[in-house]
Symmetry: C2
Subunit: 345 residues, 2 copies
DNA sequence: TTGAAAGCGCTAACAA
DNA sequence: TTGTTAGCGCTTTCAA
């Protein structure tokens, strides 16, 4: 399909070595030879065989991303945006992106080990860090480069980018409190997802700082889907004294909660406040628009990827652990009077 | 990190060739030698160097997927599910998945050419086919294997899987007509996305078959986002004689339309019907739940990937062009009286 | 300024 | 049953 150096060498009457160096623009090749070689290469549409080059360079120039898929109906607006961030940055530096999908578990670890040992990738991007994360433990153990999106318990010394979930939830809490809410409940994901814990901690802390409690009955765990939020909110609404505000740990759950509330004939924002976290595109166009916390997912993807590449290149990156402050995006679902125009940026 | 054949050869006192064949379980190697070699390989945690193997095999065992990203805030629930389908199937057959992101355009074609010529991938999965698709034209021209999700204009003879959008929309239209609607409008994506055309055609045809017209003013083009649907619906609602039903060409637009309708104080389902297409997870949990057309995206991902792999392996696959009949998923947004239990599977 | 030779790690044809 | 040789396409000493 595409010519090889050998073919160019044959046609130019030069050696393979010379051709290689001419194309790499070494300065120990005569201008004349370079011209000739380049012309022929152009003519033949020469493109280097990457596998061959990589074998010899002993580097795959490839970044691995193993998506932890939960169930067959895997659908998360978060991932595609994040993927675009990583992908674009990787492309900018000439890296490839190798994507796999594996539900968390032993087989997932097999895939990591396999990719590491077969030198298929130079480094990994880890997403959805877990409380104690076998992926991170393994990669640290074998000294394989990676950058994570998210922290783990114990805050080991590895490079990561994360959004300060506690701060984000604190902002949510303070906003709700300022609006007069005293009975605030939380839709939280499974406890082994640490990022949820930070958010929950931030909420609890902010409430405590304001003399408010967060009783156990006001913390409902479910998965991160609309369905989970829907069911969780139903549980909360059945209580004898239901909350006046529900702070969900992500937007999907918040949207599910809104559905549950509306199905009971209540009005979100007026009868009960709902807030999310993530600011997925959907959030601005829910009805009412969802008050939430904005995470610059695309930017995070780029940043994680760039940090990893710097790591791979041995440039000790300036920042090894980055904590981003999320930003409150106030719309109508919390009951704050905001005009449509202001809420829709 | 991981040992090489050479190292195993050294330790066992055998030749590299013998070791290679022992591990590949050739039957011209003595049981004794096999045992020895395997033991040492195990001990050293041997994993073949995939780049080396692939260079020699002249095959990358890799499937390419270049996601056409539109804008930085790329977020499409469709892609993650599709990706999981492809990824899982690829893994099953031992293929890698190489993912890139590129907005449509000349640079995108460069990436295709580069990946083809550098033999980085053995074949491509094409998504979001376009009316006349330069990717498909190019790949056909150079005879490079690929399978598309979607058709193109002229229905060239290439392998694809697609959902019969016309049929899906026909079912929507017939359902709406049965409910008594006569003024049915359409939220359609940009005309260069062919799949939208099929859906539009199906709608028009079904209406015509029932003696109804689809005036130009009832076809609003916008992008495939909630924002697009929101704005499109606003336009439709401002008309002197607004439609009584809005059939959106995807769920995101339908959800946006619902927001626009509700913002005007109207009730979806009662005052105006809304339908979508795709059946994203969100659809079941919108308020009211969205009547839509189910596309088995995950299955399609798997199928596309499997067809490509069969192509790569020279097994002339049974089906080269697959058309899937989508299935109506009736919920409340169309005004049909359906109990919550029936609508939530 | 150029080329021969070696080697990245693997597989395969051919001999022994 | 095993080893020698060659080669995948490329880069990089080292000599000429």
């Amino acid at each position: 399909m595409s010519a090889t150096l050998k073919e160019i060498a044959r046609r130019t009457g030069k050696s393979i070595t010379t051709v290689s160096r001419a194309l790499a623009d070494y300065d120990d090749v005569s201008a004349e030879t370079k011209g000739l070689v380049r012309r022929v290469a152009e003519e033949l549409n020469y493109t280097p065989h990457l596998l061959a080059r990589r074998l010899q360079k002993q580097s795959s120039d490839t970044i691995g991303l193993i998506l932890p898929t939960f169930g067959p109906r895997f659908s998360d607006p978060f991932f595609s945006e994040f993927l675009a961030g990583i992908g674009n940055m990787a492309a900018e530096y000439g890296y490839d992106l190798l994507v796999s999908t594996q539900p968390p578990g032993e087989q997932e670890m097999q895939v990591y080990r396999q990719k590491v040992r077969s030198r298929q990738v130079d480094g990994f991007v880890i997403v959805r860090t877990r409380r104690t994360d076998p992926r991170i433990r393994y990669l640290q153990e074998v000294g394989f480069p990676f950058v994570a999106f998210g922290r783990t318990e114990g805050e080991l010394n590895f490079p990561f980018v994360d959004v300060d979930g506690a701060l984000g939830m604190r902002r949510i809490a303070e906003h709700l409190i300022a609006l007069g809410h005293r009975r605030i409940a939380c839709l939280a994901p499974p406890a082994d997802l640490l990022f949820a814990e930070y958010r929950l901690m931030g909420l609890r802390q902010a409430l405590a700082d304001n003399g408010l409690a967060l009783p156990e009955s006001f913390i409902v765990r479910s998965d991160l889907t609309e369905q989970g939020g829907y069911e969780g909110a139903q549980r909360l609404l059945q209580a004898a004294e239901p909350p006046t505000a529900i702070a969900a740990c992500n937007d999907l759950m918040a949207l599910g909660a809104m559905s549950a509330i509306q199905e009971r004939g209540l009005q979100v924002g007026r009868d009960i406040a709902v807030t999310g976290f993530d600011d997925i595109p959907m959030a601005a166009h829910a009805h009412p628009p969802l008050t939430t916390v904005r995470q610059p997912i695309y930017q995070i993807g780029k940043m994680v990827c760039e940090m990893l590449i710097q790591l791979l290149r041995g440039q000790d990156s300036v920042a090894r652990q980055v904590m981003l402050a999320p930003e409150l995006s106030v719309r109508q679902s919390c009951g704050a009077a905001v005009t449509g125009a202001a809420a829709r940026p």
